[in-house]
């Protein structure tokens, strides 16, 4: 997690200065799945960037000038342009930076990836609800049934396509957009939700072999340490694992 190892800025912190030429800045949080999407794209495309972590439980006052609701991720360019919503940020990076294109060039294939992204859209909320239920020692059987159904829909796509990844035989944007939630299944305690979706399990294994995914993979014990502190409402949760 090199380059990501900075303490989260909170209330009373000074606003960081302008973004230097040749760099793009991402406002992030080390364990946030939405920011994770954008960090994957930054890494996959080899884009020079700096990371400013935000304390989401104690947001700096200046951060609301970057995002009206104080959400992450936000990209800031050296021309003071701000881009937010994780998917918009990912698309922006693919458009604005040369080199490896993560979205296909063909308009229909691009549309397919966007339709797949829509198919996935209930998963983030469901995984979060499962996590909260489990941590609060509540029942989450119905939630897990709902999540399994969503995973079935994705399984169907992989079965129908008969490809390793969601966009074909090579990893592409749609895989990176989905990945953060699958990386978290184990540490959230819901890895059994893919027990009946073998193609999805194969996809997970293939993703874990991708150099970009590996480079950003969070150590399980560090994630668990963060989750424990987070659910105890400890404001230092976001810095867990930093020296």
């Amino acid at each position: 997690m090199s380059g990501d190892a900075t303490k989260a800025l909170g209330k009373g912190s000074s606003a960081p200065g302008p973004v230097p030429e040749g760099l793009i800045r991402i406002y992030s949080m080390r364990f946030c799945p939405y920011s994770h999407r954008t960090r994957l794209v930054l890494k996959a495309k080899g884009i020079r960037h700096e990371i400013v972590n935000i304390n989401l439980r104690n947001k700096p006052e200046w951060y609301y000038t970057k995002h009206p609701l104080g959400q992450i991720p936000v990209l800031e360019t050296s021309q003071c342009q701000l881009i937010y919503e994780s998917v918009i940020a990912c698309e922006y990076l693919d458009d604005a930076y040369p080199g490896r294109k993560l979205f296909p060039c063909d308009p229909y294939e691009r549309a397919r990836q966007k339709m797949l992204s829509e198919l996935f859209c209930k998963v983030p909320q469901l995984t979060k609800e499962c996590l909260v239920a489990l941590r609060c020692r509540r029942e989450c059987t119905d939630l897990k049934v709902a999540l399994r159904q969503e995973f079935c829909n994705l399984e169907e796509i992989l079965d129908y396509q008969n490809t390793t990844f969601f966009g074909g035989d090579c990893i592409s944007m749609i895989d990176y957009l989905l990945w953060p939630w699958f990386e978290r299944l184990d540490v959230y305690g819901i890895a059994d939700c893919v027990s009946h979706t073998p193609a999805l399990r194969l996809w997970i294994a293939s993703m874990k072999q991708d150099p970009t995914v590996c480079a950003l993979l969070t150590d399980k014990s560090i994630f668990q340490g963060y989750l424990s502190l987070y659910f105890q409402n400890n404001p230092n949760a976001f810095d867990f694992g930093l020296c």
Partner: protein, 213 residues
């Protein structure tokens, strides 16, 4: 379906770009079984091309058309300007469901609450126009984001929700400017027809989708 605001987005783009197309209207109160092969969710709009490729979700269909067809580009080429249009689209995202909730409202309390929420959402759009100091959401000419937003503003009068733009003068000016656009006027449905459809639709009439034909 002739009265669907989501499908209207796609029709506006087809017309604005001069794309040759055929329209097949679907009775949303009595969907043909074969339509679920076009979109498993059974929703309109869906695009189908001569290669049998199917594209759905209105915003996705609009982007697809802009990318796949030559001529006037409705989305900006500049990556940041394009991202700005998408951020405005997100800002607008609560309006469709608020309008649907208003249509289906049960009582007076729901009504005033929903009107207030709509008013709040419209204020956000007003702020964009104020900050940009332009006539349209993408600049001084009409572009994709204007077409994506328009169908719901078109329906305000028929829904008796004009008061929701009372405190948003720039948005009102934008609405007037939109009505002058040749593409918008070509696709525009008059207030009477909108009201006729809405009445039948709320009664779950299978004739609703064909109102006026």
């Amino acid at each position: 379906m002739r009265f669907c605001p989501f499908a209207e987005r796609t029709l506006l783009v087809l017309k604005a770009k001069g794309i040759r197309h055929e329209v097949i209207n679907i009775n949303l109160k009595n969907k043909p079984e074969w339509f679920f092969k076009k979109n498993p969710l059974g929703l309109v709009p869906v695009l189908e091309n001569s290669k049998g490729q199917l594209i759905y979700e209105s915003a996705i269909t609009c982007e697809y058309l802009d990318e796949a067809y030559s001529g006037k580009k409705l989305l900006p080429e500049d990556p940041y300007e394009k991202a700005c249009q998408k951020m405005i689209f997100e800002l607008f995202s609560k309006v469709p469901s608020l309008v649907t909730s208003f249509l289906r409202r049960q009582n007076k309390e729901d009504c005033s609450g929903l009107k207030e929420e709509l008013h709040r959402e419209f204020s956000k759009l007003e702020e964009v126009l104020t900050n940009k100091k332009t006539a349209f959401f993408g600049g001084n000419s009409l572009s994709m984001i204007d077409y994506l937003i328009w169908p719901w503003l078109e329906r305000l009068e028929a829904l008796e929700l004009n008061e929701c733009v009372d405190h948003t003068p720039k948005l009102k000016l934008w609405m007037a400017a939109m009505r002058k656009d040749p593409t918008v006027s070509a696709v525009l449905i008059d207030v009477k027809a909108h009201k006729g459809f809405i009445d039948l639709y709320l009664q779950n009439s299978p004739e609703a989708c064909d109102y006026g034909l």
